[in-house]
Symmetry: C2
Subunit: 307 residues, 2 copies
């Protein structure tokens, strides 16, 4: 299996290293960390072990890629200013499957439009991992993956990809309706990520203790959008999310970590896309709309500050 | 006219100084600034002039007040931990009218319950004034007042009070429906005050440029509550608020100034009371509910920080 990881941040570095450990030939496209990754590889510290991943090749961009991979795996953040098709276009051959390990809902259409004839495997990571320095990845907890063909189905290539990750030590599950899985993850992300930022830095446990009813209302609105788009979620999805959160140790969301570190936040992929889907489908989501409006104000204030 | 000003912050210091200038005998209750105010009086810097207000008497608390005033004028903030009836109880005689120059909606009932047999004059200040140090008041702009009997009407005592302030150089208007006037002020306060804080410090002009539709939605919910409680506001109240805000110079709300200075915010008086009124009346206000939930989270985070 020949894989190309695009983006050597936390997610790309970690899952690229795992694929290599499973025996795949893994090259990487590294923009900002090119020099370090080329010279030293990517060092992984994890409950699964500590090792250095030396990519089969390190490229500055897709145009340098010598021969097309079986899987072109996009691991960047989903941000308005990142042109995701452009990041992989020159590396995609006629038989390359495009894989997303990225956050958010409704993030696939941009890729489908750019590559209408390619298999698109949409994937989610449930992981606590951070890039502590260029070429340094710290995997703290969790790590499960979920992959499925977009818009639906499980192809042999999805099965192979899951099997490879399974061999490397994380649980990778094939999902026949990956879009529903995205909405299900959004049930948690859409409230907790923005609320952690807008509150000025509360842990998930504090948010839940203080405003459980509000969190449940936001979750209910996400469920309503999911159902209207043809992906109804299980009846108990809200209760289970609340119970799971209550059992977690006090947790800083990824958006809060980005906010505190001055990195861009995935507001549009997670919250903006959900709200836009609701507007398109005519689903009233006044509480999500309010949180989204406030996140846009928060972002405006961040954009105004001298960097 | 004998007046007792309770609270010598920005509002109390400024309007007490004006009443004295109009010839009234003005004593003050000053808790935190007692020593300074007793020794030096209250220095006022204002477009109306610069002068020192020397109160007829300075008390630490209402129990020290020798003889009851004609008007006991509460000028503190409205905060959950401030027991407003207790602040004036010992100074209120049988003929004392109680006056509020305070922010918020539905802030009168606590006073009515404590003093059911006294005239209650509810008042609003439209003013940009700050306390720059103990006994130092800086009046920057505006200054108009509005007074009316609670729950409704304009008594001779209201007229006298307005006349005194008029003599002192600010426009004081008698309002037959002061409750409607409070709701009208809330139309502006309920969106702009919390949004300025939750955005991390935006000026009113930025909020309006970025999220005018959201601001209008919040204003519409305040209008709906006001109408349901029997105080319908003029049809054009939202348009006029938007236009007035657009004409204002970039403006930091009072809640933002409090937030930035680490002072308590009047979230409950302005936003919490509006939301509670909506719940009581069965008016759906999902956007105000969201903003209120977020302000409570923001407050929780502030309460957690080491002071």
């Amino acid at each position: 299996m020949k894989a190309l990881i695009v983006g050597t941040g936390a997610v790309g570095g970690f899952y690229g290293a795992l694929l290599a450990r499973a025996g795949a030939e893994v090259a990487v496209v590294s923009r900002s960390d090119y020099e370090t990754v080329r010279r030293d590889g990517i060092h992984v510290r994890s409950p699964l072990g500590e090792w250095t991943f030396r990519p089969a090749a390190v490229y500055r961009n897709a145009a340098e890629v010598a021969s097309p991979p079986d899987y072109a795996i996009l691991c960047t953040k989903v941000l308005p200013h990142i042109d995701r098709p452009a990041l992989i276009r020159d590396a995609v051959g006629p038989d390359t499957a495009i894989v997303l390990i990225q956050n958010g809902v409704e993030i696939e259409d941009e890729i489908v439009e750019a590559f209408p004839d390619h298999e698109l495997i949409s994937g989610l990571a449930f992981v606590c991992v951070s890039r502590t320095a260029p070429g340094q990845v710290w995997h703290q907890a969790y790590g499960n993956l979920m992959f499925g063909d977009y818009p639906a189905g499980v192809s042999p290539r999805v099965e192979s990809l899951c099997a490879a990750f399974d061999r490397a030590g994380v649980r990778a599950r094939a999902a026949a309706d990956i879009v529903a899985a995205r909405w299900r993850k959004c049930v948690w992300n859409a409230p907790f990520n923005p609320l952690s930022v807008l509150s000025g830095g509360l842990y998930t446990s504090d948010i839940l203790q203080s405003q459980e009813a509000f969190v449940r209302t936001l979750m209910g609105e996400v469920c309503a959008i999911a159902a209207t788009t043809g992906h109804p979620l299980p009846e108990d999805v809200i209760d289970r999310n609340i119970e799971d959160t209550r059992r977690m140790p006090p947790y800083k969301t990824s958006m809060l970590l980005d906010f505190e570190a001055g990195r861009p936040m995935e507001t549009e992929a997670i919250l903006g896309n959900a709200v836009r889907a609701a507007r398109r489908e005519g689903v009233p989501v006044p509480h999500l709309e309010s949180v989204y409006a406030l996140m846009q104000l928060r972002q405006r204030q961040l954009d105004k500050r001298p960097s």
